[in-house]
Subunit: 337 residues, 4 copies
C-alpha cells in the first residue's frame, strides 16, 4: 500500500503511522519528498484495513499495490480452472453453449425450446423459474412449478440445467432441481446470497451487475470462494451506459481483462448484453473470438409469444444457424463447440 | 401505446394487431403513412403486455404514452405524501435530517455519535447492523447485537431510528428493533425484499441503485405500494458514472425529476453520494435548495477509527456546523429544519 | 412524428397543431384518448422542426418514427458502401488492417514501424502528425515535419496512409500529404471540421466520440455526406464508462448496430478502445468476428520508447502474430485479410 | 510518482530505472517488497514523461502523487481568482447570473429577451451566433449577423456579453464583438482552440465536456493558462450518463470538487445540465447553495418559437421569479446576486 500524506502532515504523525504499520506485521517504508511525504506498507494489505487510513485526516490518498481479491486471483493460481457442471467442463477445450428460454412457461414450451437447442448443439439448458422483473405488473415466473418442468425436461433429454436463484431461502430448493445456480445481475452484490451460494458447493454462474466494475465482480466471486465453494463461472452480460441502441453495452474487453486477473472461467450472455435479437449472433461470435469459455443464449420455440425477453430470444432456426456459424470461430480460437 | 410497424408489414398483419388491441379492451388507432404504418392503443397500457409486441417481428418499436408505474405516480395522486416515521413527518413542512454512523460498532460509539447528532438537531438516528461490503474481508456489521444497541440508544435519547435490512429473512427481526427500514442501493431491485417490505407496512427508505434510472426507482417503489404499504421515502444517493473525483455522482436533478412524477417524499444522502467528507456539507445545502424533504448523513464520534466509510463521515463539530449553516437554506426553501 | 399532448391541452389547441402540420405538407393524424390526446405527423420529419414542438408548453413529448439521418441511412441505400482509400477498398470482401505508430516521431522510427506492419500484412499505414493530448505538457506531434515523413515512408513502401486532422485550417495541408483523413474522437462533434471534410471529397475515418451515442455518430457522418462527400468510414474506438480496468469500454455491439442502420463501412480501433497492449489482439479478433470491415491498430518498432500511447502499442512481433491469428477469424467471417 | 514493477522484474532492471530517475533530476526511492518492487520518484513529475514508464514491459502501474495540472491548481495559488468580465467580477462576493437566449435569432428577439433578463437582474448577456447542432438539418446560428445584433443590444443596455466560439479561425472575429468567449462542451478538448483562446487574453468560459472528468477539465484549462491567459471561468453543464429523465446529469459535486483543486471560478449551466425548463430553477438554487460563483441560464422572450433549445429556456416571467427566489439562497451562502 502506498500512503500519500497531506502537505500539512508533521514528521511525528508520519512516524506514528510507520510504527502502526510495523505493529501490523507489515514492512514500512518512508519516502520524504519536497512537497509530500509518501509512506509504504508491504505485505498482505488486508490487515491494513484496521488502520482506517481512508478516514485519517492527514492522509491524502491510499493506493493499493496488490489486488484486494486473493482466492480468485490468477497470481496464486496460474492455471485456468475448469468447472464441471453436470458432466460438462466449462473453462476447458470446448466452448460450452448454454441455451433455452428466458422463462419456463409451460411443459410444452420448455420441451420444444429445449429439444431445438439441444439438437442444434447446446450442451446445457437454461430456463428461469424465478424471474426478477423491473415492473411488478410483469410475469414473475412459475416458481416451484417451473423448477419441476425444468427437471422433467432435463431428464427427458439427458442434459444438465442452470436456473436463476434470487433469494437465500430458495438456494436449497433450487439446488434440488437444477445442476447449476445462476445469480442474477441485480443480485451480484446481494452478499448474503453469495455466502449461501458459497456454502452450497454448487456450480454458480455469477453474472456481472450493470454498475459493477470488473474488480467488484471479482470481489463478489471472492465471497463465494471464501466460503469454500470453488465452482464459480463468471458471466459478462452488459453494463449500464448512455448508449440506447442496445439494452446494455456488452463489455467484451471484460473477457481478456478477467482472464488476466483470475483463473476462473468466463462466459458471455449476448442476449441480455444487447437486448436485440439481430445482434445476438454477431456478439456470440465476437465473444468466442476474444476467448470466452462459453455462451449463455436465450432461444424460444416461439419468441413472438414469449412471456419475457422475447425481443432478444432467438427463433429455433436462428439458433441452429448460429451454432453452425460459430464452429469455425471456435476452431480459429483453437477450441471446439 | 404507439406501435410503429416495419416497412414490410402487410395490411392484413396490421388489421390483425388492431383486432387484438380491441379484444384487450383498448381503443385502437390506425395511422397509415407513406413509409410506415403506425398503430395506437389507448387505455391502461399494462394489459398490452399480453400481446408481446416487443417480440413481434413485424413491430419496429413500441413507445408508451403513459408511465408504467401507477400507484406512485403523481397523476392520480396530485398532493405530496407525508410519511410518518416514529412521530416525525417526512415530506411536510420540515426538512428532516437523519444522521448517525455508517455502522453500529459499540454501545459507547453509538451513544456518543447519536448524542452529538441529536443535540445538533438530527431528528432521526441511523446506524447499520447489517453492512453489505464490496469485499468479504471488510467489517460486515454486528448483526443482532447492533440492532439491540440501536434500540437501546434510541430509547435513551427518545429519538426514532432507521437501519438497513438486506435480506427477506431479516425483515421481521429488524422491524422489531427499528422504526424505519432502509433498503440498500445494491438491493433496490431485490424484488423479493421489496415485496416483503410491502407486506410489512413499515416505513421504508428506498435507496436508488447505482445503475437505476429514475423510472426504475419508481417501479421498485411500485412493488412496495402494490403490496399495500404506502409508507415509502425515496432516496437519491449517487449513480455510477465515469467520474472518479467522487465515489459516485450525486444526481440532484433526480429530486425535481421525481417530484414531477411522484407524490412520494424524496431525501438525499450526500455522504454516499460523494464519498468525500469535505463535499457533504455543500451537497447537503444543495439538496435542500432543490427541494429535498430530508437528508441522510453519516456522522461518527470519531471518524478516524470508524470501521466503515470513515472517509465520508462527519466529525461531531462538522455536523453541528452543517446544521447551523443549513438553517437559512431551509428557510430560503420555505421550510424549517 | 408522434406528438403526445399534456392532459390540459384543449381541443382547440390540438386542432391548431393539426393545421400547422398540414401546412407543412405532412399528413396529420388525430388520436383522442381517455387521458391524453396524441397527434401524428407523417412524411419527412425534418420540416417539423419549424414547429418547435419540443418547446411547446402543451406538448408532453415528441417521438420520431423515422431516423433523423437520411443520407447515411441504410433505408434508402440498402447495399453496403465500399470506400476506396488509396486503392484499397474498405467495406468489401477484405478486412483491411490499418496500422502504424500513434505518432510520427522520426523518419527512422516511422520507417521501421511501417516496414514491420506492412511486411506482416497491414494494407494502410497510420501515424499522427498532429496529436491532441489531454495535458499541455505531453508531446503534441511533429506537425508538418511529421506529414512529410509520413509521405516519404508511404512512397518508399508503396502503401497509402491515413493521419489525423484536428483543425479546419489544416484540412488542405493534410490532404496534400495523406490518402485518408482521420478525425479524432474529441472532434466528432466539431461540426465546422465535419463540414470542411465534407467539402474535401477525401476519404474520412470518422471516430466515434467517447460520449457519443450511435445516433450522434451517424448524425456527424450526415454532416459530411450532406456536403457532398460520400467517402466516410465509421470507427468504433471505445466509449466513456465507469469501468477502469480498460482505458475506455470498446462497444463492439456498435458494429452490428451501425450496420443495421447505415450502409457505411465500420472499422474498429482496439488500441484506443482498450488502452492495454495485451487486450488488443483478443479484441481485434472479436471485432472481425462481429463484422467489422477493418481494424485500426497501433504498432511501434519499439513501444518502450514511444512518445505517446506506448502502453497500448504492439511490438512488431506481436503485430505479426496477430495478423497470423486473425486469418482464420476473417475466414470464419467469410472474408480475407 | 510511484512505480510498481511486475513480479518478474530483475534487480538490475530496477537499478537501471532508478538511475534514469536520478538522471532526470528527480529523487529516486527503492522499496523492495516480498511480492513486488516499488520505486518512487519525487519532484516535478512532468519530466518523468520522458521515461515512457507506461509503455515499459517491466512496469505494472504508475501512480502520480501530485496533480498533473500546475497553473490551475490551488496548491500553488491558495486564494480564489476573480475574473473580471466587462466590469463584472466572477468568483468574488456576488453570484453572477449570465442569461439570454440559446441563439441570437433576430434583433427584436434579442432585444426583448435581453431587456427582460437585465431588468430581472442578470448582469451579463448570453446569445449564440455560432450554434453547433447534433443534426446538420438544425438551425446553425446567424454567424456574423448574430454577433452584430449581440453587440448592438449590449450597447443599448450597457451590459457585457458572452458568446460561443467554435473555431480557431473565429477567435479574433468573436473577440471584436463580445466581452467573453464561451467554449462549447463539444470543444473542451479542441486543443488548438484552447491554445488560441490562451493567446487571446480574453475572458473564457470553459464548459466541461460531456465525457470529461474533472481532471480533464482542469487540464483543458491548463492549456489556456499555459499560453498566458489567466482569465478562465470553469462551467459545469452536465455529463453523459445512463439516466434519460434529464438531457444530461448535472454533476453539482463538481463545484466543491473543483474548488478543492483549483483557484479558478466555477459557474453552473442548469439549462443544458437538465434540458428541462421545470428543473432549471431548482438546480440553479442548488448550484448557488453548493458554492457556484455564477449561473448560465437560457431565457427567451418566447420559448415556444425558439429556434434552438426552447424546451429548456425560461419564459421571461419564470426568469424574473427565479431571480427573486435566488436572493435568499445567495444570502444563505454569504453572497449577493
Amino acid at each position: 500500500m502506498i500512503i500519500v500524506l497531506k502537505p500539512e502532515a508533521t514528521p511525528a504523525q508520519a512516524e506514528e503511522l510507520l510504527q502502526a504499520i510495523t505493529a501490523l506485521g507489515l514492512r514500512p517504508l518512508h519516502m520524504p519528498g519536497t512537497e509530500r511525504v509518501v509512506l509504504g506498507a508491504l505485505g498482505d494489505e488486508r490487515v491494513l484495513e484496521r488502520l482506517h487510513l481512508d478516514s485519517n485526516p492527514i492522509v491524502e490518498s491510499v493506493k493499493p499495490i496488490l489486488a484486494p481479491y486473493k482466492l480468485v486471483a490468477r497470481e496464486m493460481h496460474p492455471h485456468d480452472t475448469v468447472v464441471e457442471l453436470g458432466g460438462v467442463g466449462i473453462g476447458g477445450e470446448r466452448v460450452v453453449v448454454i441455451a433455452g428460454p428466458c422463462a419456463v412457461e409451460t411443459l410444452e414450451q420448455m420441451r420444444r425450446s429445449s429439444r431445438a437447442v439441444v439438437e442444434a448443439g447446446a450442451r446445457i439448458l437454461r430456463g428461469g423459474a424465478f424471474k426478477p422483473r423491473t415492473s411488478p405488473y410483469s410475469f414473475q415466473g412459475l416458481g416451484l412449478e417451473g423448477l419441476k418442468i425444468l427437471k422433467c425436461v432435463s431428464g427427458e433429454l439427458g442434459v444438465p440445467t442452470v436456473t436463476e436463484v434470487v433469494e437465500v431461502a430458495d438456494v436449497e430448493l433450487v439446488d434440488t432441481y437444477a445442476d447449476g445456480l445462476q445469480s442474477v445481475d441485480r443480485n451480484m452484490q446481494n452478499f448474503r446470497l453469495l455466502q449461501a451460494l458459497g456454502q452450497s458447493r454448487k456450480q454458480v454462474i455469477l453474472k456481472r451487475g450493470m454498475a459493477a466494475k470488473i474488480e467488484d465482480l471479482l470481489l463478489a466471486a471472492e465471497y463465494i470462494l471464501a466460503e469454500g465453494n470453488p465452482n464459480v463461472i463468471l458471466c459478462e452480460r452488459g453494463i449500464q451506459t448512455f448508449e440506447t441502441a442496445t439494452r446494455n453495452t456488452l463489455d467484451l474487453s471484460a473477457v481478456p481483462a478477467i482472464k488476466a486477473r483470475s483463473h476462473l472461467p468466463v462466459i458471455v450472455d449476448p442476449s441480455h448484453g444487447t437486448g436485440v435479437r439481430e445482434f445476438v449472433a454477431p456478439m456470440a461470435k465476437a465473444a468466442v473470438a476474444c476467448g470466452a469459455d462459453g455462451l449463455l443464449i436465450e432461444a424460444h420455440c416461439d419468441p413472438t409469444v414469449a412471456l419475457s425477453d422475447g425481443k432478444q430470444s432467438l427463433f429455433p432456426e436462428q439458433f441452429a444457424a448460429l451454432m453452425r456459424e460459430l464452429t469455425p470461430f471456435a476452431a480459429a480460437a483453437g477450441r471446439a463447440l
